[in-house]
């Protein structure tokens, strides 16, 4: 077994162990406090833990399947996220082609370019080509009502759900000396740090949360949860330095940046939900809401993490 797969196995066992622990705690809480399923918070916790199992198993399968598996998994995530996003935005009949092109042309080409490792064109395909293509396609229909608004919304949907989200699998294309064949661990690092930050902010907030941090955006986020979550997720990231090309200090700094981006990404996406008058983006994942509800912090941190790593560590 190669060193990379050994590290992957260790990581999986660690995550699996934490999930076993979480499931046991959830089971005991249910037996004690909610045997008839009447306690909403505990039912939601258990639904979330179950969904975590499913998500971890899916990611593990994609990792085992290799580069194509990871690309397909994230292409599906982009598709489902784009569907949630566009369901919530203002569209008119005149946008039909532009939206169809977003799904069936831009999304597949973006992931094809990643597969072909064409960084030069991949990195500008959505922000330049799709940015100009969308209004051109839409203007053909001659419907000018709310034109700028409608086009910006489709462009935002593509940037967030396709471009930003695809920076997670884009980590596979980096060439880091001494780190060959281990890139998939960078994805694991990013996902673990972001998601543990989300979970820990929730836990710290539940335990010690007093001061609301952004009451108009998210009533459940508190200063205590934020500080505790960011600090502990940074520590977790630092302790995972052995799966990255970073030193422990660098891993801590990266984790800190990732968690900060994740936190503010969550706030931004929650502002969009507030504006649209919905609580969740969708219903894909039981207990979590839609896929974007789970992915919001990842999409904001992935491009920054990718480019920092690329700038300082990668040859490409």
């Amino acid at each position: 077994m190669s060193a990379a797969s050994l590290d992957m196995l260790k990581l999986l066992l660690g995550v699996g162990g934490i999930l076993v622990l979480a499931s046991s705690i959830g089971y005991v809480l249910k037996q004690r406090l909610s045997p008839d399923g009447s306690n909403g918070a505990i039912e939601n916790l258990n639904a979330r833990i179950k969904a975590w199992w499913a998500m971890v198993v899916l990611i593990a399968i994609a990792f085992v399947a290799g580069r194509v598996g990871v690309l397909l998994l994230f292409a599906f995530c982009s598709f489902a996220a784009l569907r949630e996003f566009i369901t919530l935005i203002n569209t008119r009949r005149g946008d039909h082609w532009a939206i169809a092109a977003a799904f069936f042309v831009v999304l597949p080409i973006n992931y094809f370019l990643l597969w072909a490792e064409q960084y030069g064109i991949y990195s500008i395909f959505v922000p330049v080509y799709a940015f100009l293509l969308m209004p051109i396609v839409a203007v053909m229909r001659g419907d000018t009502r709310d034109f700028l608004l409608r086009i910006s919304e489709v462009q935002w949907a593509l940037m967030i759900c396709v471009f930003c989200a695809s920076h997670v699998p884009a980590l596979l294309t980096l060439q880091i000396p001494g780190y060959e064949g281990r890139n998939v661990l960078l994805i694991a690092f990013l996902v673990i740090v972001v998601q543990s930050s989300d979970v820990l902010q929730y836990v710290w907030g539940k335990l010690f949360g007093r001061t609301k941090i952004a009451p108009s955006l998210s009533p459940s986020k508190t200063v205590e949860g934020f500080v505790g979550g960011v600090a502990s997720a940074t520590l977790i990231g630092a302790s995972l330095w052995w799966i990255t090309p970073f030193t422990p200090a660098q891993a801590a700094l990266m984790s800190f940046i990732i968690t900060m981006m994740g936190f503010f990404g969550g706030l931004v996406m929650s502002a969009i939900k507030r504006d649209r008058g919905v609580k969740d983006w969708g219903h894909l994942i039981e207990g979590h809401g839609g896929l974007i509800d789970r992915l919001d912090s990842v999409v904001f941190s992935a491009p920054i993490f990718f480019h920092l790593t690329r700038y300082w560590w990668s040859l490409t």
């Binding site: 784009l82 569907r83 566009i86 369901t87 919530l88 039909h96 008058g277 219903h283």
Partner: protein
């Protein structure tokens, strides 16, 4: 035999496609699933409407649910006749009163007599207007008079009109919901107008009033 098998496979393929495209989700009334035999009456804005209702019904309700559709549309070509008749087992009615040999209400009542359920669109045609619902035709009332024992279940289909607006041939993936209301029956001494108004209100009450229910 081969025709049946092809039809079965085609129905599974069409349903899987509809689900993959719309992530369709049923919202049941708080009283739970509708009765085994029902007349589902729904808003009509897309050719895919009955496919979506079909796709979200649990198998034991789906296997007896037959859509009611216009004969002149579904018998136009061999392919659409195959899809209408063999795949969806539609009850094909002649909409033009001058051309028909069979009374549609009679036809539907006979099918109900066999134990089947019906999926009907009482607006009579696809709604392409800005109005949420077109005025109902009276068929629903006459059907309820003929079979007062069968429950009528209002069903609101949300968002499918955005997936494939009229005149488009490429569908776009958007999340759709199918909301089932409380089963209703014809009341004693209820007039046609009263009953139709009550059915329209029941269906409209399921429509999302804000973006809240959009997804």
């Amino acid at each position: 035999m081969i025709r049946d098998l092809t039809a079965k496979l085609a129905s599974i393929a069409i349903m899987m496609f509809a689900r993959a495209l719309t992530a369709a989700r049923a919202i049941w009334h708080e009283t739970g699933l509708p009765p085994r035999q029902s007349i589902y009456f729904a808003n009509h804005s897309s050719h895919g409407d009955f496919v979506l209702i079909w796709a979200v019904l649990p198998p034991w309700l789906r296997e007896r649910a037959r859509p009611v559709a216009g004969a002149e549309y579904w018998l136009k070509s061999k392919l659409s006749a195959f899809i209408g008749r063999d795949v969806f087992d539609a009850v094909l009615i002649e909409r033009d009163p001058a051309a028909r040999t069979q009374d549609p209400v009679e036809q539907m009542a006979t099918v109900l007599g066999d134990g089947s359920s019906l999926i009907v669109f009482p607006e009579g045609t696809r709604n392409q207007t800005e109005a949420r619902l077109l005025p109902f035709k009276s068929g629903l009332y006459h059907l309820a008079c003929k079979r007062p024992d069968v429950a009528l279940v209002p069903v609101w289909i949300n968002n499918l009109n955005r997936v494939m607006p009229k005149g488009e041939f490429v569908p776009i993936p958007l999340i759709c919901t199918v909301t089932f209301g409380e089963p209703m029956r014809l009341k004693a001494h209820e007039t046609k107008d009263e009953f139709i108004a009550r059915a329209e209100t029941a269906l409209l009450s399921l429509a999302p009033s804000t973006m809240e229910d959009h997804a």
